[in-house]
Assembly symmetry: D3
């Protein structure tokens, strides 16, 4: 018996470890007895688990997003591994386990990513633009450390928004070297601010899991919310009206076409480039994820966020 | 000779009257002599006019949007009437002519229309909503008295925006009688505010003629500008966040679909109804205009703003 | 024990009442015994019910659209209420129950609605148009009293078509006050006739439930069927060809664009207005229905007939 | 000097012949003298012609669609041939010229084509369907002999509608040999009736030139008009309701999709095939016409009716 | 007991016959015993079958696409026939059964169809074009004899591709009689080659059942693959560059519009006609299939490959 | 008098210089005398020029794309500068002028750009991929040195294709640093090959001006032509089939969606990135060009290649 992660499980062996409860529901077997049907996860994957003849007390333990310690046996059912739960208890402080080890998370430390993004903000030469960006980053810091970039789809992981922004900044910095027409101040500011109001659009818990959109998120959406945020901060610091306007335009146009939520197309080169950097980062993320589950010289399943494309993994 | 309006001109007669200069340019005849090619208008229509062998001094008189007094003879050229200018001078204060008599204008007095709209605003029961609406109407009063609702298309006339809003309020009031689900406070506020930022989106002169869009109009558009305006006023008077949000949502969604500039569809009945009242009023305006130039039992020319439809005038 | 409606049921209590059978099928439990799985409804809602160890005799009782009297106990299964049927019999004449109390129906008495629509028809000044409308209303009277306006979606309730037409007439009457260009004769006639051939397109029973489309409904559709109906009646009474044509055009164009079934767009103001009144009435209906199941300050589920929009219920 | 047709003209020679006037307008030269600017045609093509120093009397001679006898000299202007008119007179009865020799016409004699179509009608086995078709052909005979199939685009030539129908029948007959599922009665009837109401939709003169659409054509269109025609005839002869319905469905669906005017798609094989035979015949016509003006191994100009395609003429 | 085909089964009778295994999976009954849940087919249809209390040995017998001999009893379960398997064994050589009798197949013998297609190829007058076509037909012969034309949808049957091509050639031959503009050499070659690379795009077994697309099929598709095939063969025989190009163009454009996979539209009449013949053949196939399961005077279910249309079966 | 470039011309001065003839045509003045109406250009811009009373001998001198030496006087006509030609002769060898100085050209020396692209090709580690790329670059070298990337739109300048490729390589190199998933061999090869067959699709002269598309360009297009080129070279060097396939897939998918010419979407990350780098480079080019003619704080004219967007030039 050992502390194996889910991806290491083998049929027949006994295991003991900590897991995160993704979902659980009480069901009835054909013999009328009740059992708990549970989905457990750790950072290596998911597994279905059963607690047979479960009393209702266990429903309190198997709350979604709770951490539990479980002892059980790995079985196999119709070709799939399953975990038969034999012992379970809720995790307490003395267990000293970190929730971050049980949810899919960005591959960098949030504090590091925040620092990186701030480093780019500090490179913004224009003092007004820099101030707007820094103030917003600072007032958003707490949420930024765990917010995902989406409910589903690309970067819907803990710290995903920050990871998305940091990677885009790195890409933007390099593309700017090729095109002197690009004003780096605007590009960096646009990248940092383009999705910032996702913090207001979605309600996410500290695991980076989005339960729903907020009312304002439903009725206005993060693009409009982001524009209002820049408007407010720019007014507070008496920034130039034109600069504030340009930043708002970059947020407004970053989805490029009305059908995707941008009533105005990008009308400055930095806004156009922002759109493409955003696309590149989300597409590279989705493709990498799809290929990570694909064998060489094979195609992935259809990927919804890639317009139902299948992706191919080359064999050389 | 008489003070006939353009629609009364007949070939061969001498006329004298005041006209508005819509456009003018110096050209060369085949004998190399210069002449001024002018488009004149009054509220009854347009006519082409020529000032032969024109010295350059006259270019100063024939400025676009200037009023001029002209004596001339009506001629006919390839089936169309034309005016041969014989005498011309700029209008001065002593002429006592009102520019409003020379541009297409709303069929009601601006002051009356403003008062009507205010009367609806006063019927809004919710004090916060009423305040937001009244403050915006008051700070917009000066421009509202002459702004058109568009550069071209429906209600692109002096006072057109106010006329559009007033008529929509009348329609909205009546439809509300049929559907008790409708909150009149929201509907009236939505109607009054939906296009209010056209005052900021377009640059129009006192004749109600739009020269161009403003920079902010180009980069954000009146929907976003209107949302920001409501946000600002609502904050200033400490209005309820939800009420402010709902008003902003009504502005945001009033074009109904992303392709027409609304990233969010109407999500409350009042917003849905606002969209349809807006459509009805613009379509009734365009159809009435198209039919006014059409004979009974005939079809109009294709009307661009009606998606290139031709409209039919019934004969009974 | 009491005569509670479905929306009043509480877990554990005994109930006795009349219900309408929406659907029923014989199934096998895991112990191989047969049971009837039934959906019951009244005007307040639906409930799943079980008749355990059911003999095949009961299949005759639980016919779709039959009324039954049931005694049973309300139970709870996986968070949902269920009815355990203990006694059941078919309804007979002596029960004196009215089917109309068990199906979703228009909120007005059919006879009253028919009278209202007739009242509008009588206001049509043009005698030929009035005759066409009256003849069609009279020959359609029997079906109009119970037909819904659709198989699913808006106004798919008993008497729904009549309710839809009556409400549109009320709206049309009021909007006509604002736009003098509108010929009320045409508008009223257009409203009354626009969907009249739904009586021929769909096969509905007296409960206002549509089983299917008719063959002609499938192959031509109510728009074409309506045109042919007007053509026939107009010929029979020797009405003016132009008037008949205009009414046919209003039917043809009332969906506004080809993609929604109108090969010609509205080409007279009354046809254009008809389209918008139709949209307003269906949208107000769908939104009211969606909001009736929604808590304050919450969003509804996605509503298919509203293009999958969610609707928000304001909290003030 | 000789009776050359326009395609035979060479610069510098004197010609005398009959021509059709397509268009003419009085203009002023830079010396202020008036001249008539004329477009003449015969079946071989068009040429621009000038009558210098023309008195207004000549305007009466050069009426559109008039036949004239002209003596003149072929000149060349900026690389194009032109005709300098020296003598002109209107054609009178003694000239014995046939208008049909001056307009683009179908390549078969109208009487022959009508006979051919009738021959197919006679092959319809079902007596009711045959009667409907024959009655309509007979009452349409006079117009069918000269009507084009369109105002512009494919088969917009004298007798074009008949030519279109005859060719489609030949194609349909042959395809039916391959697919036994096809009911020839329905296919022949569908082909003959699908565009028959173009006779009512468009107003054409005896030259097969369409001046405009009729009012009913504008407001309903030939698809609806054709349906009503079949409905009327079928009722008159007491034909089976289902057969009438199927013929109406074939007319309704022959454009295949709503965007092109068919609210219902073809729902029987004969209707589906009708659509494709219609497409094939119009496309073959347009391509043949485009290629007739194209050199080997070259591409044609863009052809509007072929969705702006250019067509290639092979070199082998 | 008899050798009845599936469509002849009646509840209660004993049967013995050969069947093809379409799918099989081991399941657990509520009493925990295992059983095999099997789908069997022959050319007359499908039936669900159960092997109760099955040992795992039977899984080897019930491989997908295997032929088995079964003795069993026809039962009925919830209104559907089912087969209770009593005895089963794998088929061996001595059984002398032909797989072709158990899968849906083209209605002609593959060898005959291949010969027919070759007969058309031999009618191609141009020697270079004929050679290209013949070489490709010869090197494709083995696969052509069983390949379907698609994984699902039209002609997804054994020998379906050859059947599709043969029928299209017959149609093409006949339409060419009507349109002299058509070069038969090109048309026949285009028909034979248009889908030829489906042999490379899909991986099908000898039953004509496609398991998946090949990698090249996924990444390039049969249109591109077909172009490369023609290019290669034409080069090998030193054929005229223009002829090779024209054949490639026909393959490239045969889906007509970019949305369906043709980046270039047909630019020669033969390519345009090829597209329509392809459409006709697939639509006639799908409609015939849909109608074969439909009663007279009824509509079929919605057919996915016909854009979800329902098809009507006439009653005369 | 001096050797001023066109952008330096001022009204009234005498000039002498070399110019490129873009277009010229003989016209008639109103006094019937002939004159040549000419458009001249150098790298700084265009100017209209007139040679009055021109004999036909001059037509030979003013051939499109010819270099001429001209002496003349700058005049002004209706607000625009014009050149009155006083002396003109064709350029001969002794003039020692370089055509490259008179046409819009890439901002780098073609030889340098070719060398740069080759430097990236040399960095491809995989020897087969490198060989394919190098062979194609070498056989394309002569044309690459002057071919534009398009007939109109982005990079339609001398050497534009090479400039486009070189800049994309620089961008691709930098983005690869951020995304380790990217195989640089594939990305570099894809960038170099994606548009290589534009050399075969368009017919351009040594000035980099495209007169038309080639026949193969019209009938297949550069995407298909590029695929065939890679197929041929890969076969010649016996390269791995999979590698050849992947390169072909990158060419095929680089327009991303069928509507823009790619029947298959990008299915590997390098193909997806290639698409976006292509978009970025063309958009940055078009925006830079549009802004170069725009004042600060103003919007450009509508730019066709940017989907009719206007671009804004910031003022800070």
């Amino acid at each position: 018996m050992g502390m194996k992660t889910i991806s290491q499980f083998q049929s027949g062996e006994s295991v003991i470890n900590y897991f995160l409860v993704k979902a659980a529901s009480m069901k009835s077997a054909s013999n009328q007895n009740k059992y708990l049907d549970v989905t457990l996860c750790d950072q290596t994957g998911d597994i279905n688990a059963k607690l047979w003849d479960a009393s209702e007390d266990f429903e309190a333990v198997f709350q979604p997003n709770a951490l539990v310690k479980i002892k059980g046996t790995v079985t196999e059912w119709q070709g799939k591994l399953q975990l038969k739960i034999e012992k379970v208890r809720a995790v307490n402080d003395s267990d000293d386990v970190d929730i971050a080890d049980f949810v899919p998370s960005a591959p960098h430390d949030p504090a590091f990513m925040y620092q990186e993004v701030m480093r780019y903000a500090d490179q913004i030469v224009d003092q007004e633009i820099q101030s707007i960006v820094r103030i917003i980053l600072e007032e958003s810091k707490e949420k930024l450390l765990y917010y995902p970039a989406a409910q589903k789809n690309h970067h819907s992981i803990r710290g995903g928004l920050l990871f998305h922004v940091m990677t885009m900044l790195r890409t933007g910095e390099r593309i700017s070297e090729v095109y002197p027409i690009i004003n780096k101040d605007l590009l960096y500011a646009g990248v940092i601010l383009h999705d910032i109001a996702k913090l207001d659009e979605m309600a996410a818990n500290h695991l980076g899991i989005v339960s729903d959109y907020t009312t304002e998120g439903h009725l206005l959406g993060h693009i409009i919310q982001g524009i209002k945020k820049v408007e407010r901060i720019a007014k507070e610091i008496n920034a130039s009206v034109e600069k504030s306007l340009i930043l708002q335009h970059m947020i407004l146009s970053h989805h490029s076409i009305p059908e995707f939520g941008s009533p105005k197309p990008p009308m400055i080169p930095e806004a156009e480039l922002l759109h493409y950097i955003d696309m590149i980062d989300s597409r590279m993320y989705d493709m990498e994820k799809a290929l990570s589950n694909t064998e060489n010289a094979k195609l992935s399943e259809k990927v919804w966020s890639l317009n139902n494309r299948r992706v191919y993994k080359t064999d050389f």
